[in-house]
């Protein structure tokens, strides 16, 4: 889509926002071990595994689509 212009691909932006969100949600999930939220199925710790998923997906997108000089 963007190689001819040297434009950063949209997938990179997707990766950045997912990575940031993943880290924030993962950190919140860790905090919830000591302060569990009043939600149904909170004992499954969805914030931990969903935050981890976002972090991994975001990280992969950032790595693959990182703008490189070459």
């Amino acid at each position: 889509m963007s190689e001819s212009h040297g434009m950063v691909p949209v997938w990179f932006f997707v990766g950045v926002i997912l990575l940031i969100y993943g880290v924030v949600i993962l950190a919140t999930g860790l905090y919830e071990f000591s302060h569990p939220p009043a939600t149904v199925l909170a004992y499954l710790h969805p914030a931990i595994w969903w935050g981890a998923l976002l972090t991994v997906v975001g990280g992969v997108y950032v790595y693959v689509y990182l703008p490189r000089k070459s």
Partner: protein, 577 residues
């Protein structure tokens, strides 16, 4: 699709007046997640400014989008926050029947767009759907379509804006003025800077946010109920009198299902006329495909989009069904909400609050905000293109430099947002305007499909036929709507049953107006002179040499993926019959 908004946003108005307390309280991680979203969309707009120097860049994203980007953007432009909340609410009310709007109400039309219509849109190198009408039928048809489209788009953007501000007030307790101005200014800035590039980039971003923000609800919900069979068992236990889990079984009569609609209305009204009208001629969505880099990408984009559209019920319909299964209280119509009660429209936020704690809640709310802003960006980017190319350049300043039109596009993006804000405040004062404007939008779409598809497939269709068909189809639709308002008994004639409900009226009115449009177009065309065949090259089937795909392996051809999509669509109908 725009038609669900009518009941959703009107009902939300009622909800606003009667719901005193907010549904959800946000914590600092949620606020941080929302703030990051705003920073990201503005950053993308600022970054893309440097790539939008030419008209082709600003209005059509340089025509260099891959099939994936164009396809995701195509689906995303339609996946607004009100769409999500409205159809989750409809599912709580009508059950899985609401999935018709995602399957038969979308998939055949998207495949038809990709395989049959896209080649003509793309080869003609038009900038817009009204632009195609000019090439095919002449200035009068284009002027009619462009004028209707610009007015309706701005009004719809304003209505969406107000309805979303109401959602944020009801769900989060946010001030309406704050929501309207902050979100509108953000959209105005990034679209005015980055044009369609920025709109498409943000729509792709929104696609991921919506899926990742909403996907936890069905996953955790199915865990709670013990899978699909557990979900169905709980619904039968909670609502033993209704059938909420079958798509077609209850559609044999108008009185047999809560929507009050017969299967002919769903198949011919929704599945054919309304769906084809929306997905193949509404420039808001077609513009995303026109930005594709080549004809194969343009054909593939709506076909890829059809797979994602087919999956959307997982994050919209399933939460509505889960609401029926697991909520410890029953939701009520918005007009009947009393103290301590919740309306159908609140089912999605309620399910979000049920399963998502801090952080995840912020992600879900961001998905709703992103859906709203993306829908509005779609409206204003389509408006600025149609205004600049189809009205301003045609009727006010014909031969200006390309740079002049780009400036016009940027300024009318800002102006469009300001007019939409004005509309939002107007709707706040006179809520009944919403009914009229949304009805007007639906009046126009079904006849427009008749005009465009005849123009593409029938070379005998004449300029006079195209114009008069479109005009008569639209006027007949308005006439039927007014007739039912003046005399409700007329509904029995228009929708073919006295048991028909408003949803059925929309389906049949669209069908009749399409038939009027096609009939008038055919009759007038046969009585008037057609365009010379040499002027129809690139516009009409039979006069256009379409590029061959014979050199590609089967799995790379759009027709192959369209066939697979169609098979999956038919399987879904069979599974949930």
């Amino acid at each position: 699709m725009s038609f669900p908004l009518s009941f959703c946003s009107l009902a939300l108005l009622a909800a606003d007046r009667q719901t005193a307390s907010r549904l959800i309280s946000l914590h600092s991680p949620d606020i941080a997640i929302i703030a990051v979203y705003f920073a990201m969309v503005l950053g993308i707009g600022v970054y893309l400014r440097r790539y939008t120097k030419r008209g082709e860049d600003f209005f059509l994203a340089g025509r260099e989008m891959t099939a994936w980007v164009a396809g995701l953007s195509f689906v995303s432009a339609n996946l607004g926050a009100l769409e999500l909340m409205g159809w989750a609410a409809a599912t709580y009310q009508y059950g899985i029947l609401a999935a018709h709007w995602y399957w038969i109400g979308a998939i055949p039309a998207m495949l038809f767009l990709g395989i049959i219509m896209m080649p003509f849109y793309y080869i003609s190198k038009t900038h817009s759907v009204p632009g195609f009408l000019r090439l095919r039928y002449g200035e009068s048809a284009r002027a009619l379509a462009a004028t209707m489209f610009t007015f309706m788009t701005l009004f719809m953007a304003g209505i969406d804006m107000y309805a979303m501000a109401l959602v944020l007030k009801v769900v989060l307790g946010w001030d309406i003025n704050f929501s309207i101005w902050v979100s509108s200014i953000t959209v105005a800035v990034y679209v005015a800077l980055g044009g369609l590039f920025a709109a498409i980039f943000n729509e792709v971003l929104q696609f991921f946010l919506i899926w990742l923000g909403a996907l936890l609800i069905p996953i955790l919900g199915l865990m709670e109920t013990g899978g699909w069979s557990g979900l169905v068992a709980r619904i039968h236990q909670n609502f033993p009198q209704g059938d909420y889990t079958h798509l077609w079984r209850t559609m044999g009569s108008f009185a047999g299902n809560p929507m009050g609609i017969h299967w002919t209305g769903i198949v011919f009204g929704l599945g054919f006329v309304i769906s084809f009208g929306y997905w193949t001629t509404d420039f808001l969505v077609v513009q995303r495909i026109l930005a594709a880099k080549d004809i194969r990408a343009a054909k593939l984009a709506p076909i890829l989009g059809s797979y994602f559209k087919m999956a959307v019920p997982f994050i919209v319909i399933l939460p509505g069904l889960l609401g029926l299964a697991v909520l410890p209280f029953k939701l009520v119509p918005a007009s009947a909400v009393g103290p301590g009660q919740h309306s159908y429209n609140e089912v999605l936020p309620l399910m979000l609050a049920r399963y998502c704690g801090p952080g995840l809640l912020g992600l879900g709310i961001t998905a709703l905000i992103a859906g709203f802003m993306s829908g509005m960006a779609g409206n204003v980017s389509a408006f600025s293109t149609v205004w600049t190319y189809d009205l301003y350049r045609s009727f006010f300043k014909k031969n200006a430099a390309d740079d002049h039109y780009v400036k016009m596009g940027r300024w009318c993006t800002i102006l469009g947002v300001l007019i939409s804000i004005g509309t939002a405040y107007l709707v706040m004062q006179f809520a009944s305007i919403m009914d009229y404007v949304q009805a007007l939008f639906s009046f126009f779409i079904a006849p427009l499909f008749g005009t465009v598809v005849l123009g593409m497939l029938w070379k005998r269709a004449s300029p006079a036929g195209g114009f008069w068909g479109l005009l008569c189809g639209t006027v007949s639709s308005i006439g039927m709507w007014a007739l039912v308002r003046a005399n409700p008994h007329m509904l029995a004639y228009i929708a073919l049953s006295s048991n028909a409900k408003p949803m059925a009226e929309n389906m049949y009115r669209a069908l009749w107006s399409w038939i009027v449009c096609v009939t008038v177009t055919v009759v007038v065309s046969l009585l008037t002179s057609p365009k010379p065949v040499e002027e129809l090259t690139g516009l009409v089937y039979g006069c256009t040499e379409l590029p061959s795909e014979g050199h590609l392996p089967l799995w790379k051809r759009p027709i192959f993926w369209a066939a697979v999509s169609l098979v999956i669509f038919l399987l879904l109908q069979w599974i949930f019959w």
